[in-house]
Amino acid sequence: MIPASFGWRSGTLSGARRLTPSARSLTFRVPGWPGNEAGQHVDVRLTAPDGYRAVRSYSMASVGDGDEVELAVARLPDGEVSPFLVDELELGDRVELRGPLGGFFVWRSGQAQCTQLIAGGSGVVPLVAMVRAHAAADDRAPMQLLYSLRTPADAFYADELGGFTATVPTTWHYTRTPPPGGDRPAGRLTEHDLREQTLPVENEPLIYVCGPTGFVEAVSHQLVSLGHAAASVRTERFGGV
């Protein structure tokens, strides 16, 4: 396990690209970054000219060694920090980062259990790190992803996830508008969907669920109701801030 570090480090925005109209991938070069495991998060601190500071936590899409940290940030309509990161921060600008943080919602390559990932919206970010870590691992049990999102235009990392189809298949589930010719109606994930589209109970998968609180509450209850052990369902929630 990579030890957490507790001091703030300066990070320079070295890469950025739009993921959707309201979300952006941001890569920071962070000298001294110790690397991180798949699923961990980082605190980002912004400082205004008068010294006022704001701190927010973001999951990392990046994983492994190296001094680059990739975040994927969705703009919250009433947010203070996310609109700045999504719409204003320019290449070469600096922020401060602290981490990596969190030692439980992580996927490690030696895990013997097969893995089911379930994402709601921008909750896919730490799960993308797990898919990337899985691709880089020699010794790996099967992994698959169920990605619930409103419309095809809301997808993060669609091309990259498509490239992993042979090793980590992604099932796309749309809650508002399915793609033209889609074979399933739009709607929230049901217990039936989870039974059809995720690894079965008898495979005893380790399940990672990340998304807004309501999504995680609903999905984790359904998983337990399908017969999965509560201890094999790991959750990460966000929302409200």
Binding site: S5, R45, L46, R53, D93, A230, R237, F238, V241
Partner: protein
């Protein structure tokens, strides 16, 4: 260069360093929300002489309760001011308990644990809360009952609490084993595992 303005600056003295205000009530949990029927609910305190004090739901509601208005601070940097709770003071529960030990491990339905010094939960600073904002506590916020230790970061206020086990040392619980600070005082920004060496000061 983009210049961060920051819209939510607050000189509110109730806000600890590095925290920002929220009106909502976010949830931090590591797994599914356990479904707990109050018929099966029980709270216990287990001491070093193998004594276990127990209260079932009916007995618990008969204990003297207090209304608590307090600020809460989550390690993920949100704070919510002036929240309203109702619950039983740990002083009331410990009035029936004899122990020489200085630390407790709080245990929750679902298997999660968090460690606390006894001094942090006595003296009118901690409760077992079962109402929030005048209504029964929602399961996702820890209902039917959670520990409420508002002067520490909110992960210490164990959701779905079912008992306390006295311990000799301040042995870390689930969250503390996974990177959070052993103590968790928001005014000292005890967020992450500072019991380890901090290489960056």
């Amino acid at each position: 260069m983009a210049v961060f303005g920051g819209r939510r600056r607050s000189d509110d003295p109730a806000l600890p360093p590095g925290q920002h205000l929220t009106e909502s009530f976010p949830v931090l949990s590591a797994g599914p929300t356990p479904v707990i029927n109050t018929h099966d609910w029980e709270f216990f305190i287990h001491t070093e002489d193998r004594q276990t004090h127990r209260w079932n739901w009916t007995e618990f509601l008969e204990l003297p309760a207090e209304d608590v208005s307090t600020d809460i601070h989550c390690v993920t940097s949100w704070s919510k001011l002036g929240t309203s709770w109702r619950g039983v003071s740990l002083d009331t529960l410990f009035a029936q308990v004899t122990t020489q030990l200085d630390y407790v491990m709080a245990h929750s339905f679902g298997g999660y644990t968090t460690n606390l010094p006894l001094t942090d939960i006595l003296g009118g600073r901690a409760w077992i809360a079962y109402e929030y904002d005048g209504a029964p506590l929602d399961p996702e916020h820890g209902g039917p009952a959670r520990l409420l230790v508002p002067h520490l970061y909110f992960w210490k206020s164990a959701k779905w609490v079912r008992g306390l086990v006295m311990q000799h040392d301040d042995k870390p619980g689930f969250w503390e084993e996974n990177g959070y600070h052993l103590h968790g005082d928001p005014w000292r920004e005890e967020r992450y595992g500072a019991w380890r060496e901090d290489p960056y000061g």
